[in-house]
Amino acid sequence: MANDEQILTEQFQNGNLEFFTDLYNLYVRKIYEFVYFKTHHKQISEDLTSEIFLKALENFKKYSAKKGKFSSWIYGIARNTVIDYYRTKKYEYDIADAWDLSAKDDVGLDIENKERIEKVRRFLNKLTSEQRDIIILRIWSDLPYREIAEIMGKTEANCKMIFSRALAKVRQGGILALLMLLLINLR
């Protein structure tokens, strides 16, 4: 399969746009999932996923296999598209994705996932957008650090370091939450 993808991306890079449909088939669910992780909303995810793939197609000349894998490229477009989406929303504070919103402001949040998202919101919105994306890409999207590094435009070692610090924050947040729970129960 990796070999097939290589052929597809080579052809795409050479301007044979028909092969983009195969790449789309390979990546649409992953990209949609990633966008959903950052927006918590089905309709927004669909709109942005459409925008991402059409953007990738229109900008095929900018893709070069020498600079990285196709997956890293399309994830990079996805990340930037989500950031742009929230930045144009003109919130009072700087928003990179739905995690930066308070529960009250995240009105579009899908009911099905509300509970799960709220569970981790208090940890994840304490992280920077960069830390959060690395956590999402590593733990939820299960991407290797090599690819995460290409997406984020950083070195692998740097990504691992950012991840470990982010996780440490999450861990601390967890301990604090446990403490809070204990205090509440002791009253």
Binding site: N16, T21, Y36, S50, L57, V120, I139, A168
Partner: protein, 535 residues
Amino acid sequence: MKKETSEKNIKGILDDLYKIDPFLEKYEESVKNAIKELLKSKPDVEIDDKFIMELREKISDKIEELRYQPQKKRAFFWQMFFSQKFAYGFGGILVLILLFGLVFHFINIDKTRVSQIGQETTQTGFKKIALGDNAFGPLKVDNLQAGNTQAVGGSESAQPSNDTGEKTSGTVSITRPASGLGGGGGMSVTGTAPSVMPVCETGDCGTYYPPKYVYVGEEVTLDQNQVEVLRKRNKIEYSGSVSGLLQSFGFGLADINGFEGARIQSVNLVQDKDFGYSIYINFDEGTISIDSYWPKWPHQQTTDCKGEVCVATFEDWPNISQSDVPADEELISIASSFAVSHGIDLSFYGQPEVMKDWISSVPTPMRVGEKIMQPYISDTISIKYPLMIDNKYVYDQSGSKFGLSIVVNIRYKKVSGVYNLYLQDYESSMYNAETDFSRILKIAEKGGIYGYSEGARTIDVEIGTPEQAYAVIWKYNTETQASNMLLIPALVFPITKTADGYNSYITNIVVPLAKDLLEQSNIPTPMPLILEKAQ
């Protein structure tokens, strides 16, 4: 299984973390809990299949739209026979890989032979293997008709020489007087015979007047006594194992593997989508033809049926008028964009030309009763990409440039066919060249090697200073029952002036320089072509 995967994931994450930050190992339990918590909280993402399909459609439309935008010309080696998308599915990808492998195998084929004889590649993607002198046997053919037809040939044995390839290029050089060569190959038009016959003149109906070609060009000296003839290589053999692939082609009905030594000779692929294509690949000849896939293109619907006979009315399928025909630039853009987006390497070809010779044959609108009947104009128009070898054009015996044809459907402004696309892979062999220009001229003044210009009355047609080019000739081998394509250095004389009142469909006279071919006998009298009087 999910739990095992999850544990495995967590372990992997932790191992990576500890390498970066061993300090975290102290807090393994809480770190593990944090990761577990994150994993448990991963949102359940359901993607709508309808959304996926609709977006795929949008992407297909976008691809079509982008095709018509000029793209940067790529000079990459034509590594695949073609680059158009196959049908979806694993089977399509398998064929893709097979073809990719076939081409790479082909490139490496005959390595030992090449090292014995010497190989010369003069441009990217163009391959030429030098053989000994007269390796293709006698070039002269008997009972040929003008144009692309079979020829009865002699032995085709190609004996490799022991020469390591230190031959001259064999191109004929034309030395000119100080004034220099003038003129050049004119516009080529399609035509099927070198002779012209006027329509009935008053009192002279049905009389045939052959043309008499009169040379008005400059003096030319031929100073090479050998020319390099090229023969297109056939029989591209893939010796790799395809047993696994063939087995799946058997549908379980037969054991394809049982057919020992079976090889793929040709493949036909179709696109099951609107305006899809049918792609025919012939491995024996190294050719690809692309056609519109009939079931997926709109066709004339017939409504006026009487029994089994149906006739399409004008309302069903409006005629195309001359004003519907796009400008040349647009037609060329459609054709070239298609070529570029499908990886068709255009670097072997010269500037494209729109073949509009049919326009002169379209009658003007006619009044029939109260109706104005528009002339019939074909839905399709050809764009010719003339083949160039060593910066020289290739002409067929009717004087038209030979090359790649991309057909555009005017009604839908889409490419509906690509023809004469083949691997630029040749063998070459040196043959004796004619050095007496006067002899060449005699043949040119007759209308070429198939020309005939005798008669009580002739029509004067002037021809100018020739250009160096190649002539394409097909030679049939009765033993192998296959035709071989030969490219022979030639002089091409442009027609510069015709007799008053008559149009000629021929604009060039082609005379090959290989002496062997000029000595051929039994040149048939070609059928005269009825011309229309110029308006």
